[in-house]
């Protein structure tokens, strides 16, 4: 039996037509996109914000973390990456599912997935958004 699922934080991501997407804010005044979404534009301060989503991007940079940091609940090692989403001209940082840096290439296709990050103290699987390399032909 699998554990009950708990979302890391509401408002960061959702499943849409069986596809995981990140939820961004997009400013209707200056066109700037930002993640996570918030009520005021990060560039111009306007409150004219619409929600948009992204799921497919290109790998910009990445690293592998092998040392513990304060409050971290992830198993070591874990990957981190920045992925570009050209549709909304935004680069987003997050956990990468690939922990071997050597296997990654700049500019390769990445997609957003929702996956287990860690098991919480109450035995629930906490899920978050992660970036996953897109395998060829899929």
């Amino acid at each position: 039996m699998s554990n009950e699922i708990k979302v890391l934080k509401e408002g960061l991501f959702k499943e849409e037509d069986g596809k995981a997407v990140l939820l961004l804010g997009h400013c209707l005044v200056c066109g700037t996109a930002f993640f996570p979404e918030r009520p005021f534009c990060s560039r111009c301060g306007s409150d004219q914000i619409e929600q948009v989503s992204v799921s497919d991007g290109k790998l910009y940079s990445w690293t592998t973390v092998i040392h513990p940091s304060q409050e971290n609940k992830m198993a070591l090692p874990y990957g981190m990456a920045k992925v570009d989403f050209p549709d909304h001209k935004i680069r987003i940082t997050g956990v990468s599912t690939e922990t071997d840096s050597e296997k990654l290439t700049r500019g390769q296709d990445m997609r957003v997935v929702v996956a287990k990050a860690y098991e919480d103290e109450d035995g629930k699987d906490v899920v978050t958004y992660m970036f996953q390399p897109v395998e060829e032909g899929k």
């Binding site: 930002f34 092998i66 040392h67 940091s69 971290n72 680069r91 940082t93 997050g94």
Partner: protein, 379 residues
């Protein structure tokens, strides 16, 4: 606006001092600065104290020991720029005519290991994405791609700063290292190894500043603050805890903006500097920041490093003090450490580290949440 000068400086070595309290570190640097300026504590009219991690009213705890003179004491916390932001506020209050003499102190007792409480949200910390070295590592990769560099260039920065630190009795590591040692030291986050990252540690540094008229009554060996610029980030700067940045924006990065503001205010450009102290949080950051501050042209990095442009005898000596890689980083004190080094250099008091004939020197700091300061001193 009134011209502001540095009357005297003081420092407590950067390192680890288990038997000392932050008060001890701060008081030692303060006393040395007061003595160097030949100005008694009773004549100081306002004090700014930069610190990140100590308790409530830390500046008061350090300074009231010298006498409860009733002056305003302001505690400043702006991450790694805490000291220079204190300096900026003190300078403004003197320029504006509110005070004639001020003390600025930076003091820190930071524990070993990754720095906690950097402004990340809990969801970022729980998923391990609040690990600062991971962000530095990704930025370093981006810098390497942008300028066509490899690991040997990262190692060079560590080797050079450690070699410079050998001549600095106030540095934590006064020991040279080889390329093999740098590249074979434990991997922290690829491509950054342990010897490519600075270590959070303990220390203090202080300066007494004032109008030229007020200071001249006590000492004749002052140096002038030609400019001190302080700015915060825009969305274009990929600085934690932010997790997104717009691509292809026309916004200019923070180091270019803050250095340009200082160059313009001082009427001193990057080509006029005799030396610069930069925030080498890691080897990659120093390379990126040297380009963004206009010291090395974007296509010229590999050549500049190979030709020793930034070595103590080169075109623009960078981190002749040893930088944070050899000194360690006592967060609230590190930028005031730069001010101490620059003041000594411009007075000709830097001993074996002296850059001959130094006339103008700069210090650059960059901190969490996008704080950046750029100071230019001249003699």
């Amino acid at each position: 606006m009134r011209e502001v000068v540095i009357a005297g400086v003081g420092i407590h070595p950067f390192g680890r001092f288990p038997d000392k309290d932050y008060r001890d570190l701060g008081r030692e640097a303060t006393l040395m600065a007061l003595k160097d300026a030949n100005i008694p504590w009773n004549d100081i009219q306002v004090a700014y104290v930069g610190n990140v991690m100590a308790e409530m009213t830390k500046g008061h705890q350090v300074l009231q020991y010298f006498g409860q003179t009733g002056i305003p004491i302001i505690n400043v916390e702006n991450a790694c720029t805490s000291g220079s932001v204190g300096m900026w506020a003190a300078m403004n209050s003197i320029q504006n005519g509110q005070y004639d003499l001020a003390l600025v102190l930076g003091v820190e007792k930071a524990p070993k290991g990754m720095i906690a409480n950097c402004g990340y949200d809990r969801w970022q910390m729980y998923t391990g994405t609040g690990a600062n070295p991971a962000h530095f590592a990704m930025q370093t990769k981006e810098t390497m791609w942008e300028h066509g560099l490899d690991k040997s260039h990262l190692a060079y920065i560590s080797i050079l700063n450690h070699r410079n630190g050998v001549k600095n009795p106030y540095a934590m590591y006064q020991k040279e290292c080889t390329a093999e040692e740098v590249l074979n030291s434990p991997m922290v986050c690829d491509p950054l190894t342990l010897l490519m990252l600075c270590a959070p540690n303990e220390g203090a540094a202080a300066a007494v500043i004032g109008t030229k008229e007020a200071v001249a009554k006590y000492t004749s060996k002052y140096v002038t603050i030609a400019a001190l610029a302080f700015l915060t980030k825009t969305p274009a700067d990929s600085i934690f805890p932010d997790f997104s940045v717009p691509i292809g924006t026309d916004l200019v990065n923070i180091t270019t903006r803050v250095s340009a503001l200082a160059y313009e205010t001082a009427g001193i450009g990057p080509d006029d500097l005799s030396l610069i102290e930069m925030q080498d949080t890691d080897s990659g950051s120093q390379i990126r920041d040297m380009v963004q501050a206009g010291l090395i042209k974007p296509g010229d990095v590999a050549r500049a490093l190979a030709d020793g442009d930034i070595a103590p005898t080169g075109r623009i000596p960078v981190n002749v003090s040893g930088g944070l890689l050899s000194k360690g980083e006592p967060l609230g004190a590190s930028s005031m450490g730069q001010v101490v080094e620059l003041t000594w250099q411009l007075r000709g008091d830097a001993g074996p580290r002296q850059v001959p004939g130094a006339k103008a020197g700069a210090g650059h700091t960059l901190g969490a949440a996008g704080n950046s300061c750029f100071i230019i001193l001249k003699n």
